[in-house]
Amino acid sequence: MTAEILLETQILTRNFGQLVAVNAVSLRVYRGEKVALIGPNGAGKTTLFNLITNKLAPTSGQVHFKGRDITNLPPHVISQHGLARSFQLNNLFPELSAFENMRIATQARHVRRRSLWLDAEVLSDTADQAQGLLEEIGLAHQAHLNAEVLSYGDQRHLEIGLALATKPDLLLLDEPTSGMSPHETRSTVELIQHIAQRVSVLLIEHDMNVVMSVCDRIVVMHHGQVLAVGSPEEIERNQAVQEAYLGVAQ
Protein backbone atom coordinates (compact mmCIF):
# COMPACT_ATOMS: atom_id res chain seq x y z
CA MET A 1 0.00 0.00 0.00
CA THR A 2 1.41 3.34 -1.02
CA ALA A 3 -1.27 5.50 0.56
CA GLU A 4 -0.34 8.24 2.99
CA ILE A 5 -0.06 7.26 6.64
CA LEU A 6 -2.58 9.42 8.49
CA LEU A 7 -2.17 8.19 12.03
CA GLU A 8 0.65 6.25 13.55
CA THR A 9 1.10 5.31 17.19
CA GLN A 10 4.55 4.17 18.26
CA ILE A 11 4.81 1.81 21.25
CA LEU A 12 2.14 3.88 22.99
CA THR A 13 1.79 2.94 26.66
CA ARG A 14 -0.30 4.11 29.56
CA ASN A 15 -0.09 2.83 33.12
CA PHE A 16 -2.66 3.33 35.86
CA GLY A 17 -0.62 2.37 38.90
CA GLN A 18 0.16 -1.32 38.45
CA LEU A 19 -2.29 -1.72 35.60
CA VAL A 20 -0.97 -1.31 32.07
CA ALA A 21 -4.14 -0.14 30.30
CA VAL A 22 -2.45 0.35 26.94
CA ASN A 23 0.70 -1.64 26.43
CA ALA A 24 3.15 -0.70 23.65
CA VAL A 25 0.50 -0.25 20.97
CA SER A 26 1.85 0.49 17.50
CA LEU A 27 -0.70 0.86 14.75
CA ARG A 28 -1.24 2.76 11.52
CA VAL A 29 -4.26 4.17 9.78
CA TYR A 30 -3.82 5.08 6.10
CA ARG A 31 -5.77 7.79 4.33
CA GLY A 32 -9.06 6.49 3.03
CA GLU A 33 -9.16 3.50 5.35
CA LYS A 34 -12.00 2.34 7.56
CA VAL A 35 -10.40 0.54 10.49
CA ALA A 36 -12.23 -1.17 13.34
CA LEU A 37 -10.75 -1.40 16.81
CA ILE A 38 -12.31 -4.34 18.61
CA GLY A 39 -11.66 -6.29 21.76
CA PRO A 40 -13.32 -7.40 24.98
CA ASN A 41 -14.38 -4.86 27.60
CA GLY A 42 -11.36 -3.42 29.38
CA ALA A 43 -9.03 -4.17 26.47
CA GLY A 44 -7.91 -0.51 26.43
CA LYS A 45 -9.72 0.70 23.31
CA THR A 46 -11.18 3.91 24.73
CA THR A 47 -7.97 4.57 26.65
CA LEU A 48 -6.12 4.34 23.33
CA PHE A 49 -8.50 6.96 21.86
CA ASN A 50 -7.86 9.13 24.91
CA LEU A 51 -4.10 8.84 24.39
CA ILE A 52 -4.34 9.63 20.68
CA THR A 53 -6.41 12.77 21.31
CA ASN A 54 -4.43 13.65 24.46
CA LYS A 55 -7.39 13.50 26.78
CA LEU A 56 -4.91 11.39 28.69
CA ALA A 57 -1.14 11.82 28.53
CA PRO A 58 0.72 8.65 27.58
CA THR A 59 3.24 7.15 30.00
CA SER A 60 5.52 6.54 27.04
CA GLY A 61 5.40 6.32 23.27
CA GLN A 62 4.39 8.72 20.55
CA VAL A 63 1.47 9.67 18.33
CA HIS A 64 2.05 10.98 14.81
CA PHE A 65 -0.68 12.48 12.67
CA LYS A 66 -0.10 13.45 9.04
CA GLY A 67 3.62 13.11 9.67
CA ARG A 68 3.60 15.45 12.66
CA ASP A 69 4.33 14.49 16.26
CA ILE A 70 1.14 15.37 18.14
CA THR A 71 1.93 13.43 21.33
CA ASN A 72 1.90 16.36 23.72
CA LEU A 73 -0.26 18.85 21.84
CA PRO A 74 -3.36 20.09 23.66
CA PRO A 75 -6.65 18.53 22.49
CA HIS A 76 -7.89 21.69 20.75
CA VAL A 77 -4.72 21.86 18.64
CA ILE A 78 -4.99 18.19 17.71
CA SER A 79 -8.57 18.89 16.65
CA GLN A 80 -7.44 21.84 14.54
CA HIS A 81 -4.97 19.53 12.76
CA GLY A 82 -7.90 17.45 11.52
CA LEU A 83 -8.24 14.64 14.03
CA ALA A 84 -11.75 14.49 15.47
CA ARG A 85 -13.42 12.10 17.88
CA SER A 86 -16.85 11.21 19.12
CA PHE A 87 -17.47 9.95 22.63
CA GLN A 88 -18.75 6.69 24.03
CA LEU A 89 -21.21 8.59 26.24
CA ASN A 90 -23.07 11.45 24.57
CA ASN A 91 -21.04 14.58 25.07
CA LEU A 92 -23.14 17.43 23.67
CA PHE A 93 -24.16 20.98 24.56
CA PRO A 94 -27.40 19.96 26.28
CA GLU A 95 -29.17 23.32 26.46
CA LEU A 96 -28.31 24.46 22.95
CA SER A 97 -30.45 23.54 19.97
CA ALA A 98 -29.28 20.77 17.68
CA PHE A 99 -28.60 23.49 15.12
CA GLU A 100 -26.54 25.61 17.50
CA ASN A 101 -24.63 22.49 18.60
CA MET A 102 -23.69 21.94 14.99
CA ARG A 103 -23.07 25.62 14.29
CA ILE A 104 -20.66 25.84 17.23
CA ALA A 105 -18.81 22.86 15.75
CA THR A 106 -18.57 24.37 12.25
CA GLN A 107 -17.66 27.75 13.75
CA ALA A 108 -14.63 26.08 15.36
CA ARG A 109 -13.05 25.96 11.87
CA HIS A 110 -13.98 29.49 10.82
CA VAL A 111 -11.18 32.05 10.58
CA ARG A 112 -13.35 34.60 12.40
CA ARG A 113 -14.24 32.27 15.26
CA ARG A 114 -12.48 34.52 17.79
CA SER A 115 -14.23 37.71 16.72
CA LEU A 116 -15.83 39.66 19.53
CA TRP A 117 -17.50 42.10 17.23
CA LEU A 118 -19.11 40.28 14.31
CA ASP A 119 -22.61 38.92 14.69
CA ALA A 120 -22.31 35.12 14.76
CA GLU A 121 -25.39 34.98 12.50
CA VAL A 122 -23.40 36.79 9.80
CA LEU A 123 -21.03 33.84 9.44
CA SER A 124 -23.54 32.34 7.03
CA ASP A 125 -21.16 29.63 5.84
CA THR A 126 -21.05 28.11 9.33
CA ALA A 127 -24.85 28.13 9.47
CA ASP A 128 -25.17 26.61 5.99
CA GLN A 129 -22.69 23.87 6.80
CA ALA A 130 -24.48 23.17 10.08
CA GLN A 131 -27.81 22.88 8.28
CA GLY A 132 -26.30 20.58 5.65
CA LEU A 133 -24.78 18.34 8.29
CA LEU A 134 -28.06 18.14 10.20
CA GLU A 135 -29.70 16.92 7.00
CA GLU A 136 -26.95 14.36 6.52
CA ILE A 137 -27.42 12.90 10.02
CA GLY A 138 -31.20 13.02 9.67
CA LEU A 139 -31.86 15.73 12.22
CA ALA A 140 -33.00 18.59 9.98
CA HIS A 141 -36.52 18.43 11.40
CA GLN A 142 -35.31 18.52 15.01
CA ALA A 143 -32.86 21.37 14.40
CA HIS A 144 -34.64 23.74 16.79
CA LEU A 145 -34.87 21.24 19.67
CA ASN A 146 -32.39 21.36 22.52
CA ALA A 147 -29.91 18.51 22.40
CA GLU A 148 -31.07 17.26 25.80
CA VAL A 149 -34.62 16.56 24.60
CA LEU A 150 -33.61 14.61 21.48
CA SER A 151 -34.12 10.87 21.50
CA TYR A 152 -31.12 8.80 22.50
CA GLY A 153 -30.52 7.63 18.96
CA ASP A 154 -30.69 11.18 17.62
CA GLN A 155 -28.26 12.30 20.29
CA ARG A 156 -25.87 9.56 19.16
CA HIS A 157 -26.10 10.85 15.61
CA LEU A 158 -25.51 14.42 16.75
CA GLU A 159 -22.51 13.12 18.66
CA ILE A 160 -21.05 11.85 15.38
CA GLY A 161 -22.19 14.96 13.54
CA LEU A 162 -20.31 17.31 15.85
CA ALA A 163 -17.07 15.46 15.22
CA LEU A 164 -17.73 15.42 11.48
CA ALA A 165 -18.50 19.16 11.48
CA THR A 166 -14.88 19.98 12.30
CA LYS A 167 -13.94 18.72 8.80
CA PRO A 168 -11.52 16.09 10.01
CA ASP A 169 -9.17 13.95 7.92
CA LEU A 170 -9.59 11.16 10.44
CA LEU A 171 -12.62 10.49 12.57
CA LEU A 172 -12.34 8.41 15.74
CA LEU A 173 -15.75 6.97 16.59
CA ASP A 174 -16.14 5.45 20.05
CA GLU A 175 -18.94 2.87 19.99
CA PRO A 176 -21.35 4.91 17.85
CA THR A 177 -24.07 2.25 18.09
CA SER A 178 -23.85 1.54 21.81
CA GLY A 179 -27.25 1.29 23.45
CA MET A 180 -29.11 1.45 20.12
CA SER A 181 -32.04 -0.59 18.91
CA PRO A 182 -31.42 -2.79 15.84
CA HIS A 183 -33.32 -0.27 13.74
CA GLU A 184 -31.25 2.66 15.01
CA THR A 185 -28.09 0.62 14.50
CA ARG A 186 -28.97 0.06 10.84
CA SER A 187 -29.42 3.76 10.20
CA THR A 188 -26.15 4.49 12.02
CA VAL A 189 -24.32 1.97 9.85
CA GLU A 190 -25.68 3.71 6.76
CA LEU A 191 -24.57 7.05 8.18
CA ILE A 192 -21.05 5.81 8.88
CA GLN A 193 -20.79 4.22 5.43
CA HIS A 194 -21.88 7.53 3.94
CA ILE A 195 -19.39 9.54 6.03
CA ALA A 196 -16.56 7.09 5.28
CA GLN A 197 -16.71 8.08 1.62
CA ARG A 198 -15.00 11.35 2.50
CA VAL A 199 -13.17 10.79 5.79
CA SER A 200 -10.96 8.04 7.11
CA VAL A 201 -12.47 6.29 10.10
CA LEU A 202 -11.11 4.48 13.14
CA LEU A 203 -14.03 2.85 14.87
CA ILE A 204 -14.42 1.18 18.26
CA GLU A 205 -17.34 -1.23 17.97
CA HIS A 206 -18.74 -4.29 19.72
CA ASP A 207 -21.34 -5.19 17.12
CA MET A 208 -19.53 -7.48 14.65
CA ASN A 209 -22.22 -6.89 12.02
CA VAL A 210 -21.41 -3.20 12.09
CA VAL A 211 -17.68 -3.93 11.92
CA MET A 212 -18.08 -6.30 8.97
CA SER A 213 -20.31 -3.96 6.99
CA VAL A 214 -18.24 -0.81 7.53
CA CYS A 215 -14.57 -1.67 7.89
CA ASP A 216 -11.88 -2.95 5.57
CA ARG A 217 -9.32 -3.67 8.29
CA ILE A 218 -9.59 -4.77 11.91
CA VAL A 219 -7.26 -4.25 14.87
CA VAL A 220 -7.94 -6.54 17.82
CA MET A 221 -6.88 -5.44 21.29
CA HIS A 222 -6.66 -7.63 24.36
CA HIS A 223 -5.23 -6.76 27.78
CA GLY A 224 -3.95 -3.46 26.45
CA GLN A 225 -2.00 -5.02 23.59
CA VAL A 226 -2.58 -5.47 19.90
CA LEU A 227 -3.46 -9.13 19.46
CA ALA A 228 -4.02 -9.22 15.72
CA VAL A 229 -4.36 -7.00 12.66
CA GLY A 230 -5.93 -8.02 9.38
CA SER A 231 -8.85 -8.07 6.99
CA PRO A 232 -12.22 -9.12 8.40
CA GLU A 233 -11.78 -12.58 6.88
CA GLU A 234 -8.32 -13.01 8.38
CA ILE A 235 -9.54 -11.93 11.79
CA GLU A 236 -12.50 -14.32 11.63
CA ARG A 237 -10.11 -17.21 11.00
CA ASN A 238 -7.53 -16.14 13.59
CA GLN A 239 -7.25 -18.72 16.34
CA ALA A 240 -5.91 -16.41 19.03
CA VAL A 241 -8.69 -13.89 18.38
CA GLN A 242 -11.34 -16.56 18.61
CA GLU A 243 -10.00 -17.68 21.96
CA ALA A 244 -9.60 -14.22 23.37
CA TYR A 245 -12.65 -12.54 22.02
CA LEU A 246 -15.05 -14.22 19.67
CA GLY A 247 -15.06 -17.41 21.71
CA VAL A 248 -16.04 -15.51 24.79
CA ALA A 249 -18.59 -13.41 22.97
CA GLN A 250 -20.34 -16.38 21.45
Partner: protein, 328 residues
Protein backbone atom coordinates in the same frame (compact mmCIF):
# COMPACT_ATOMS: atom_id res chain seq x y z
CA UNK B 1 -34.58 31.58 18.91
CA UNK B 2 -35.36 33.74 15.91
CA UNK B 3 -37.37 36.85 16.45
CA UNK B 4 -40.16 38.02 14.17
CA UNK B 5 -40.18 41.41 12.46
CA UNK B 6 -42.97 42.62 14.72
CA UNK B 7 -40.92 41.79 17.79
CA UNK B 8 -37.97 43.65 16.35
CA UNK B 9 -40.07 46.73 15.67
CA UNK B 10 -41.55 46.67 19.16
CA UNK B 11 -38.08 46.23 20.61
CA UNK B 12 -36.74 49.15 18.57
CA UNK B 13 -39.57 51.47 19.65
CA UNK B 14 -39.18 50.28 23.21
CA UNK B 15 -35.48 51.10 23.10
CA UNK B 16 -36.17 54.54 21.66
CA UNK B 17 -38.72 55.20 24.40
CA UNK B 18 -36.36 54.09 27.15
CA UNK B 19 -33.57 56.20 25.70
CA UNK B 20 -35.89 59.21 25.48
CA UNK B 21 -36.90 58.83 29.13
CA UNK B 22 -33.28 58.32 30.12
CA UNK B 23 -32.23 61.50 28.31
CA UNK B 24 -35.09 63.57 29.77
CA UNK B 25 -34.88 62.17 33.29
CA UNK B 26 -32.51 64.76 34.88
CA UNK B 27 -34.71 67.65 33.68
CA UNK B 28 -37.29 66.85 36.33
CA UNK B 29 -34.83 66.60 39.22
CA UNK B 30 -35.49 68.96 42.15
CA UNK B 31 -38.87 70.00 40.66
CA UNK B 32 -40.61 66.63 40.22
CA UNK B 33 -38.51 64.57 42.61
CA UNK B 34 -35.58 64.93 44.94
CA UNK B 35 -32.09 65.05 43.45
CA UNK B 36 -31.44 61.97 45.55
CA UNK B 37 -33.06 59.96 42.76
CA UNK B 38 -30.78 61.50 40.17
CA UNK B 39 -27.77 60.38 42.21
CA UNK B 40 -29.36 56.96 42.64
CA UNK B 41 -29.76 56.49 38.90
CA UNK B 42 -26.17 57.64 38.34
CA UNK B 43 -25.01 54.97 40.80
CA UNK B 44 -27.14 52.40 38.98
CA UNK B 45 -25.40 53.36 35.71
CA UNK B 46 -21.98 53.14 37.37
CA UNK B 47 -22.64 49.72 38.86
CA UNK B 48 -24.42 48.84 35.62
CA UNK B 49 -21.12 49.15 33.75
CA UNK B 50 -19.60 46.62 36.12
CA UNK B 51 -22.67 44.38 36.07
CA UNK B 52 -23.01 43.97 32.31
CA UNK B 53 -19.39 42.81 32.34
CA UNK B 54 -20.05 40.65 35.37
CA UNK B 55 -23.00 39.01 33.64
CA UNK B 56 -20.87 38.31 30.57
CA UNK B 57 -18.56 36.34 32.86
CA UNK B 58 -21.04 34.77 35.30
CA UNK B 59 -24.12 34.43 33.11
CA UNK B 60 -22.67 33.61 29.71
CA UNK B 61 -19.30 32.06 30.47
CA UNK B 62 -20.64 30.49 33.68
CA UNK B 63 -17.74 31.70 35.82
CA UNK B 64 -19.14 33.10 39.06
CA UNK B 65 -16.50 35.49 40.36
CA UNK B 66 -16.77 36.30 44.05
CA UNK B 67 -14.12 38.98 43.92
CA UNK B 68 -15.28 41.52 41.41
CA UNK B 69 -15.09 44.35 43.93
CA UNK B 70 -11.31 44.18 43.51
CA UNK B 71 -11.46 45.54 39.97
CA UNK B 72 -13.81 48.32 41.04
CA UNK B 73 -11.44 49.12 43.92
CA UNK B 74 -8.23 48.96 41.89
CA UNK B 75 -9.70 51.34 39.33
CA UNK B 76 -11.09 53.70 41.96
CA UNK B 77 -7.96 53.82 44.13
CA UNK B 78 -5.57 54.17 41.19
CA UNK B 79 -7.46 57.07 39.68
CA UNK B 80 -8.13 58.62 43.08
CA UNK B 81 -4.46 58.54 44.08
CA UNK B 82 -3.33 59.98 40.75
CA UNK B 83 -5.85 62.82 40.96
CA UNK B 84 -4.87 63.58 44.56
CA UNK B 85 -1.11 63.45 44.24
CA UNK B 86 -0.23 64.22 40.64
CA UNK B 87 -1.17 66.79 38.04
CA UNK B 88 -1.92 64.12 35.46
CA UNK B 89 -4.93 65.08 33.28
CA UNK B 90 -7.86 63.09 34.59
CA UNK B 91 -8.62 61.12 31.43
CA UNK B 92 -5.10 59.70 31.76
CA UNK B 93 -5.69 58.98 35.46
CA UNK B 94 -8.97 57.32 34.48
CA UNK B 95 -7.15 55.33 31.81
CA UNK B 96 -4.42 54.33 34.25
CA UNK B 97 -7.06 53.02 36.66
CA UNK B 98 -8.62 50.95 33.90
CA UNK B 99 -5.24 49.63 32.70
CA UNK B 100 -4.22 48.59 36.21
CA UNK B 101 -7.59 46.89 36.71
CA UNK B 102 -6.99 45.09 33.41
CA UNK B 103 -3.53 43.90 34.53
CA UNK B 104 -4.97 42.64 37.81
CA UNK B 105 -7.86 40.98 35.94
CA UNK B 106 -5.47 39.24 33.57
CA UNK B 107 -3.32 37.86 36.39
CA UNK B 108 -6.19 36.93 38.70
CA UNK B 109 -8.10 35.41 35.79
CA UNK B 110 -5.09 33.44 34.60
CA UNK B 111 -4.58 31.94 38.05
CA UNK B 112 -8.24 31.43 39.04
CA UNK B 113 -9.24 29.74 35.78
CA UNK B 114 -6.91 26.85 36.64
CA UNK B 115 -9.69 25.83 39.05
CA UNK B 116 -13.34 25.03 38.45
CA UNK B 117 -16.61 25.44 40.30
CA UNK B 118 -16.44 26.23 43.98
CA UNK B 119 -12.62 26.45 43.89
CA UNK B 120 -12.80 29.14 41.25
CA UNK B 121 -15.28 31.06 43.42
CA UNK B 122 -13.08 30.73 46.51
CA UNK B 123 -9.93 31.74 44.64
CA UNK B 124 -11.53 34.90 43.26
CA UNK B 125 -12.78 35.71 46.74
CA UNK B 126 -9.31 35.20 48.21
CA UNK B 127 -7.75 37.50 45.60
CA UNK B 128 -10.46 40.05 46.30
CA UNK B 129 -9.78 39.96 50.03
CA UNK B 130 -6.07 40.42 49.35
CA UNK B 131 -6.79 43.74 47.66
CA UNK B 132 -9.22 44.69 50.42
CA UNK B 133 -6.55 44.11 53.04
CA UNK B 134 -3.98 46.10 51.06
CA UNK B 135 -6.41 49.02 50.87
CA UNK B 136 -7.26 48.69 54.54
CA UNK B 137 -3.78 48.34 56.00
CA UNK B 138 -1.44 50.27 53.70
CA UNK B 139 -2.10 53.53 55.53
CA UNK B 140 0.71 55.44 53.85
CA UNK B 141 -0.64 54.91 50.37
CA UNK B 142 -4.35 54.22 50.59
CA UNK B 143 -5.31 56.16 53.69
CA UNK B 144 -6.14 52.91 55.50
CA UNK B 145 -9.63 52.59 56.92
CA UNK B 146 -10.38 56.24 56.13
CA UNK B 147 -9.78 55.78 52.42
CA UNK B 148 -9.26 58.67 50.02
CA UNK B 149 -11.27 61.86 50.32
CA UNK B 150 -11.45 65.21 48.62
CA UNK B 151 -10.65 63.89 45.20
CA UNK B 152 -11.03 66.90 42.91
CA UNK B 153 -13.93 67.23 40.51
CA UNK B 154 -13.05 66.94 36.85
CA UNK B 155 -14.32 68.21 33.55
CA UNK B 156 -14.50 66.78 30.09
CA UNK B 157 -13.28 69.70 28.02
CA UNK B 158 -15.86 72.47 28.57
CA UNK B 159 -18.30 69.94 30.08
CA UNK B 160 -17.71 70.08 33.86
CA UNK B 161 -18.54 66.85 35.65
CA UNK B 162 -19.06 68.68 38.93
CA UNK B 163 -22.86 68.48 39.09
CA UNK B 164 -25.11 65.45 39.21
CA UNK B 165 -26.96 66.84 36.22
CA UNK B 166 -23.85 66.82 34.03
CA UNK B 167 -22.43 63.65 35.49
CA UNK B 168 -25.66 61.88 34.70
CA UNK B 169 -25.07 62.25 30.96
CA UNK B 170 -21.48 61.14 31.25
CA UNK B 171 -22.55 58.01 33.20
CA UNK B 172 -25.43 57.34 30.79
CA UNK B 173 -23.04 57.51 27.83
CA UNK B 174 -20.43 55.17 29.34
CA UNK B 175 -23.11 52.75 30.53
CA UNK B 176 -24.78 52.66 27.12
CA UNK B 177 -21.45 52.01 25.41
CA UNK B 178 -20.62 49.22 27.88
CA UNK B 179 -24.02 47.62 27.49
CA UNK B 180 -24.08 47.83 23.69
CA UNK B 181 -20.52 46.51 23.59
CA UNK B 182 -21.41 43.52 25.75
CA UNK B 183 -24.51 42.88 23.64
CA UNK B 184 -22.29 42.66 20.59
CA UNK B 185 -19.87 40.38 22.39
CA UNK B 186 -22.52 37.88 23.49
CA UNK B 187 -23.86 37.70 19.93
CA UNK B 188 -20.41 37.30 18.39
CA UNK B 189 -18.80 33.97 17.56
CA UNK B 190 -16.75 34.49 20.72
CA UNK B 191 -19.86 34.96 22.86
CA UNK B 192 -21.61 31.94 21.37
CA UNK B 193 -18.52 29.88 22.06
CA UNK B 194 -18.51 31.08 25.68
CA UNK B 195 -22.02 29.69 26.16
CA UNK B 196 -21.01 26.39 24.59
CA UNK B 197 -17.93 26.22 26.82
CA UNK B 198 -20.13 26.87 29.86
CA UNK B 199 -22.34 23.94 28.93
CA UNK B 200 -19.61 21.48 28.04
CA UNK B 201 -16.03 22.65 28.23
CA UNK B 202 -14.55 19.27 27.35
CA UNK B 203 -16.50 18.93 24.14
CA UNK B 204 -15.71 22.49 23.11
CA UNK B 205 -12.03 21.74 23.57
CA UNK B 206 -12.27 18.59 21.46
CA UNK B 207 -14.01 20.58 18.73
CA UNK B 208 -10.93 22.79 18.56
CA UNK B 209 -11.72 25.68 20.91
CA UNK B 210 -8.92 26.86 23.16
CA UNK B 211 -11.35 27.08 26.03
CA UNK B 212 -8.93 28.57 28.57
CA UNK B 213 -8.15 31.39 26.21
CA UNK B 214 -11.85 32.20 25.80
CA UNK B 215 -12.34 32.12 29.57
CA UNK B 216 -9.33 34.34 30.20
CA UNK B 217 -10.61 36.84 27.65
CA UNK B 218 -14.07 36.91 29.24
CA UNK B 219 -12.51 37.45 32.64
CA UNK B 220 -10.35 40.26 31.28
CA UNK B 221 -13.28 42.09 29.65
CA UNK B 222 -15.27 41.72 32.83
CA UNK B 223 -12.42 43.04 34.99
CA UNK B 224 -11.86 46.01 32.68
CA UNK B 225 -15.51 47.04 32.98
CA UNK B 226 -15.20 46.69 36.76
CA UNK B 227 -12.24 49.06 36.62
CA UNK B 228 -14.17 51.53 34.46
CA UNK B 229 -17.00 51.50 37.02
CA UNK B 230 -14.55 52.16 39.86
CA UNK B 231 -13.00 55.08 37.99
CA UNK B 232 -16.44 56.53 37.29
CA UNK B 233 -17.40 56.20 40.92
CA UNK B 234 -14.38 58.08 42.20
CA UNK B 235 -14.91 61.03 39.88
CA UNK B 236 -18.59 61.15 40.83
CA UNK B 237 -18.44 60.77 44.61
CA UNK B 238 -14.97 62.23 45.20
CA UNK B 239 -14.03 59.55 47.69
CA UNK B 240 -13.29 55.85 47.98
CA UNK B 241 -13.04 53.66 51.09
CA UNK B 242 -11.79 50.07 51.59
CA UNK B 243 -15.36 48.97 52.12
CA UNK B 244 -15.80 49.10 48.34
CA UNK B 245 -13.32 46.22 48.03
CA UNK B 246 -14.86 44.07 50.75
CA UNK B 247 -16.04 40.60 49.74
CA UNK B 248 -19.58 41.50 50.75
CA UNK B 249 -19.55 44.02 47.88
CA UNK B 250 -18.68 41.21 45.51
CA UNK B 251 -21.59 39.35 47.08
CA UNK B 252 -23.85 42.30 46.29
CA UNK B 253 -22.93 41.95 42.61
CA UNK B 254 -23.95 38.29 42.69
CA UNK B 255 -27.21 39.25 44.43
CA UNK B 256 -27.97 41.99 41.90
CA UNK B 257 -27.19 39.69 39.00
CA UNK B 258 -29.42 36.81 40.10
CA UNK B 259 -32.18 39.11 41.34
CA UNK B 260 -32.32 40.87 37.98
CA UNK B 261 -31.87 37.79 35.81
CA UNK B 262 -28.56 36.14 35.09
CA UNK B 263 -27.51 35.84 31.46
CA UNK B 264 -29.61 38.76 30.22
CA UNK B 265 -27.08 41.64 30.54
CA UNK B 266 -29.72 44.27 31.37
CA UNK B 267 -31.32 42.17 34.12
CA UNK B 268 -28.49 42.65 36.60
CA UNK B 269 -28.76 46.41 36.09
CA UNK B 270 -32.44 46.22 37.06
CA UNK B 271 -31.28 44.11 40.00
CA UNK B 272 -28.89 46.88 40.98
CA UNK B 273 -31.80 49.32 40.82
CA UNK B 274 -33.85 47.19 43.20
CA UNK B 275 -31.01 46.58 45.62
CA UNK B 276 -29.85 50.20 45.71
CA UNK B 277 -33.36 51.69 45.90
CA UNK B 278 -34.81 49.34 48.48
CA UNK B 279 -31.52 49.31 50.35
CA UNK B 280 -31.78 53.07 50.81
CA UNK B 281 -35.49 52.96 51.55
CA UNK B 282 -35.33 50.13 54.07
CA UNK B 283 -32.20 51.38 55.79
CA UNK B 284 -34.00 54.65 56.56
CA UNK B 285 -36.63 52.61 58.45
CA UNK B 286 -34.59 50.00 60.20
CA UNK B 287 -31.00 49.05 60.87
CA UNK B 288 -31.83 45.44 60.09
CA UNK B 289 -32.79 46.16 56.50
CA UNK B 290 -30.58 43.35 55.22
CA UNK B 291 -33.15 40.90 56.61
CA UNK B 292 -35.70 42.22 54.15
CA UNK B 293 -33.26 42.15 51.28
CA UNK B 294 -32.43 38.55 52.20
CA UNK B 295 -36.11 37.61 52.24
CA UNK B 296 -36.62 39.25 48.85
CA UNK B 297 -33.69 37.32 47.45
CA UNK B 298 -35.01 34.02 48.82
CA UNK B 299 -38.45 34.71 47.32
CA UNK B 300 -36.91 35.35 43.93
CA UNK B 301 -34.75 32.23 44.01
CA UNK B 302 -37.80 30.15 44.97
CA UNK B 303 -40.43 31.63 42.69
CA UNK B 304 -38.59 33.31 39.84
CA UNK B 305 -35.15 31.79 39.40
CA UNK B 306 -34.75 33.74 36.15
CA UNK B 307 -35.06 36.94 38.16
CA UNK B 308 -36.86 40.12 37.18
CA UNK B 309 -36.14 39.54 33.51
CA UNK B 310 -37.66 36.08 33.80
CA UNK B 311 -40.84 37.63 35.17
CA UNK B 312 -40.92 40.26 32.44
CA UNK B 313 -40.37 37.68 29.71
CA UNK B 314 -43.06 35.31 31.00
CA UNK B 315 -45.55 38.19 31.04
CA UNK B 316 -44.60 38.99 27.45
CA UNK B 317 -45.13 35.40 26.27
CA UNK B 318 -48.50 35.11 28.02
CA UNK B 319 -49.90 38.04 26.12
CA UNK B 320 -49.27 36.34 22.81
CA UNK B 321 -50.76 33.42 20.99
CA UNK B 322 -48.59 30.54 22.18
CA UNK B 323 -48.76 28.75 18.81
CA UNK B 324 -47.13 31.78 17.18
CA UNK B 325 -43.88 31.08 19.05
CA UNK B 326 -43.25 27.73 17.39
CA UNK B 327 -42.95 29.07 13.88
CA UNK B 328 -41.15 32.39 14.59
Amino acid sequence: MSVSKDDRRVARWGMALVLGIALAFPLGAAQLYSTFYLDLVIRIFIFGVLLVGYDLLAGYAGMVSFGHAMFFGVGAYTEGLLLLHTTLPWPLAFGAGVVLAAVVAYLVGYLSIQSKGIYFILLTQAFGQFFYLVAYHWNGLTGGADGLHGIPKVSLGPFALDSSFNYYYFALTIFTLAWMGCRRVVRSPFGRALVAIRQNEERARFLGYNTRRYQRQAFLISGILGGVAGCMFVTFQGYVVPDFLHWSRSGDFILMTWLGGVGTLIGPVLGAGVVLYFGDLLSSWTQNWMIFMGALYVLFVLFSPRGLMGMINSLRWQRRDPSADKTG
